[in-house]
Amino acid sequence: MLKYSIKRLARSLITLIILITIVFALLRFMPEEGYFNNYEKMSPAQIELGLIKMGLKDPLYVQVGRFIRNLLQGDLGVSYRYRVNSPIARIIAPKIAISAKLGIICMAISLPLGLALGVLMARYKGRFWDRLGNAYIVFIQAVPNAVYFIFIQLYGSTWLKIPMLYNENDWRTLILPTISLALPSISSYAMWLRRYMVDETNKDYIKLARAKGVPNTTIWFRHVFRNAVVPIVNLIPGSLLMTISGSIYTESFYSIPGMGGLLVDVIKRQDNNMVLVLVVLFAAVGIVGLLLGDIAMAIVDPRISFTKKEGSR
């Protein structure tokens, strides 16, 4: 178990370092103006001098090393164009807090609801709950979210008078965005859990459990649900961490100053340093999410920690 985790951790670190190097190298192909906020007015000599001062003329490995060292000290560098000369950490920290708050509230609601719906659907497959759930899932997946967002807005703000635009001092402004985010999330948890549970019910060990006289409800929870939830447990840490990246659509719809869309913004503004930091941040979150997911799965599935062959993927 411990050995497994450490091995995975080491591999994740290596992946991350390789990734940082690649992003670094790629960003060097970007126009140099991305490092200055008044590039147009500078002479070539000034530009050259500026680049040297920022260490951008150093060999790649020196730059990567410096970046990582600064990173470890909590220094993410400064933004040149998005918000001139402010430390990037100071720019993104409040945004991450907002996005994560929204995302975690949404997950705290949609995970139990989605799993409950999935259980009901699998348990009453082909009957009322399953049909209702399927109708809901198909609706959410097929209809562009702009459409139901407008319904939520209409119903929530016009009829129920819930304030729509984000205001950090008014918790009610979180209601509509949470619902908007939770609807699709509930549908996907329900859909996957239902599918995994139906798969489990057809397995032989469920027949044996039935044959040995285990009552139905017990079979559903102790065997079917317990085993079907394993692949979902695998996804949870990743989803949880990914909440910090925010949601472009919801956040812009409700004017929430979160992380959603920030990457697009800084790319448009050609703020090379911010692009670098954000790409590395999201990649790190992704890698750590996978790692934690696999560790979580190894905790709930004894087959994994014992495999002699290296991890299952």
């Binding site: 397995k203 032989d204 060990y205 027949k207 044996l208 459990a209 039935r210 044959a211 040995k212 006289g213 285990v214 009552p215 139905n216 065997h223 317990r226 085993n227 394993v230 709930v300 599935d301 004894p302 087959r303 014992f306």
Partner: protein, 367 residues
């Protein structure tokens, strides 16, 4: 050999149907069968003959698209008097019956255990349900049962997960689970098909020992006639959803009466002559979606009677323990002798016919 007298389960003119894509399949077509307390009954027949479907009725595990169309299944093992299992419709009725009265060992030990629970846990689950044991007492008992089914180091093994066991060991665990239920009847549905030959023999031996030790009534399903002489007191031969012949082992082997039984016996590898091809039954079993007229085996019978195609034969009694559903036993029928090869069986001693003996002689003949 028979513990005559006490019938524990009695099937009367059972018809079971399935609905499949709007059509109705007649899986069991009027079976009557008595099971005696403490006996070992083998059910043989080719794939699709309805062996599993028949026995699933005894434990309420028929697939959802199937139903008992008519007939009765009387169970006499309950204190409160006989019950007709054919009338059990709901899960609640079956609860408390499954496992406790009738337990089952299934074909594939690799998939019959919950991969996320320890072996001990899975045995204890049955103990808690059926023997009212809890905590420490349950785990002690589980270890006891594990050693009973021949698993070495049971204390250590109980804490392990199914993937740490080999196929043969897993089947022992499945049997241990069945034993933990402390049932009256144990159904073994091809318990060794997925195992290699030497392991097969050990598992058969184990089932037989447990039967003797605990006075279990066992139903042993197989399509390998070669192994049944070693595990069963009686044999029921199934064809196309019907029992065409039933009798003691000796009767069915030494004095078979139904042409299908002849065909099955003729294809036994033990009877094969070196260098010659094994006998194979020609044709395919009838389509159970259609109404079957006459004797279901007639189209594949090399020497059918005319009447075989017209009317379904009733059971004719050969002896009090031996009956067969074939017109050949009607006094008016023309005399048809069983194939030459069948008469050779008399020269073979039954208990040498098991797979162990077979195996010792030619280890690879099975595949």
């Amino acid at each position: 050999m028979l513990n005559n007298g006490d019938v524990i389960l009695s099937v009367k003119d059972l018809h079971v149907k399935f609905s499949l894509r709007g059509k109705v399949l007649n899986a069991i077509r009027g079976i009557s069968l008595d099971l005696y307390k403490g006996e070992a009954l083998a059910i043989v027949g080719e794939s699709g003959s309805g062996k599993s479907v028949l026995t699933k009725n005894f434990i309420g595990l028929l697939d959802k698209n199937g139903w008992v169309d008519s007939g009765e299944i009387w169970y006499y093992g309950l204190e409160g008097g006989p019950v007709d299992l054919a009338q059990y419709k709901t899960e609640e009725q079956w609860q408390g019956f499954r496992g406790k009265q009738v337990a089952m060992v299934m074909q594939d030990p690799m998939t019959s255990l919950n991969p996320l629970k320890t072996i001990g846990w899975q045995i204890e689950e049955a103990l808690k349900l059926h023997q009212g044991l809890q905590g420490e007492a349950a785990s002690k008992k589980a270890i006891e049962i594990l050693s009973d089914v021949g698993i070495p180091e049971p204390e250590r093994r109980a804490k392990q997960y199914p993937h740490e066991f080999s196929g043969g060991m897993r089947q022992r665990v499945v049997i241990a689970i069945a034993m933990a239920c402390n049932p009256q009847i144990l159904i073994c549905d091809e318990p060794t098909t997925a195992l290699d030959v030497t392991i097969q023999a050990q598992i058969l031996q184990l089932i037989r020992n447990l039967k003797d030790k605990y006075g279990l009534t066992t139903i042993y399903i197989t399509h390998d006639l070669g192994v049944v002489a070693n595990v069963a007191d009686r044999i029921a031969v199934m064809y196309a959803g019907d029992i065409v012949e039933v009798g003691t082992c000796e009767e069915v082997f030494y004095d078979p009466r139904h042409p299908y039984t002849w065909a099955l016996l003729s294809s036994l590898p033990q009877l094969g002559i070196k260098g010659e091809d094994l006998y194979a039954i020609k044709g395919t079993p009838p389509n159970l979606f259609n109404e079957i007229r006459g004797d279901a085996f007639a189209p594949r019978n090399p020497h059918p009677l005319k009447i075989d195609f017209l009317y379904r034969p009733p059971y004719f009694e050969v002896s009090p323990t031996h009956k067969a559903r074939t017109w050949l036993l009607d006094p008016r029928a023309a005399k048809v002798d069983p194939p030459e090869i069948i008469r050779h069986i008399r020269n073979i001693k039954l208990d040498t016919m098991d797979i162990k003996a077979k195996n010792a002689a030619e280890p690879t003949a099975e595949s």
